[in-house]
């Protein structure tokens, strides 16, 4: 991620220590965490309010789960870049998230360095699909 402009990121996870971990993982990738949500409903509201370049969503969250939040975000902005970052790893949930429009899906037990590689690669593909422009 070599762009000078910081990539504005929304994090959504109900566990504070996981948000701290994810923040530590994305910050070296030229990312700025502009919003943190503790449930899916907050995630959708913050996405609409902040219009981040990238959203990282957990699935198991109170009030509204990550799958429902993903659907609402993609309905609001079909070009949104959303990466699911979760412990829910059954093939049905993974496939359904991809079908709805998740750009990638990362298991929470993935080593941080590999998470960074996946996020970087997914961001590059996202930019390439848009001619290098951030929407």
């Amino acid at each position: 991620m070599t762009e000078a402009k910081k990539i504005r990121v929304l994090l959504a996870d109900d566990e504070a220590h996981i948000r701290v971990l994810i923040r530590a993982i994305v910050q070296p990738l030229n990312c700025e965490v502009v919003a943190e949500a503790t449930n899916g409903e907050e995630a959708v509201a913050l996405f609409k309010a902040k219009r981040p370049d990238m959203a990282l969503l957990d699935i198991n969250m109170p009030v509204k789960d990550g799958e429902a939040a993903l659907r609402e975000i993609m309905a609001f902005d079909p070009g949104a870049m959303v990466i699911m970052l979760t412990s829910v790893v059954d093939v049905g949930t993974v496939q359904s998230s991809i079908d709805v429009g998740a750009s990638h899906y990362i298991r929470k037990d993935t080593p941080p360095l590999q998470m960074r590689e996946i996020i970087t690669e997914t961001w590059k593909q996202y930019l390439a699909a848009r001619g290098g422009r951030v929407p």
Partner: protein
Amino acid sequence: MSEKPSPGSATGELAETRFDLQAMLEELKAEIEAPAAARDVVDQAQIAELIRKRAPRKDNG
């Protein structure tokens, strides 16, 4: 027989046995379902493969 069976009585034991059986059935059900659930779990490499196979998004540009 509308009274609750007292613990230690024959009726109480029968009620406890029924409860244990129910717990045992739940355990067996979980054991039977667990391998099926394990088969459905995907690792990061399989997720990457699912991502590659997905239909191109129509919102590009």
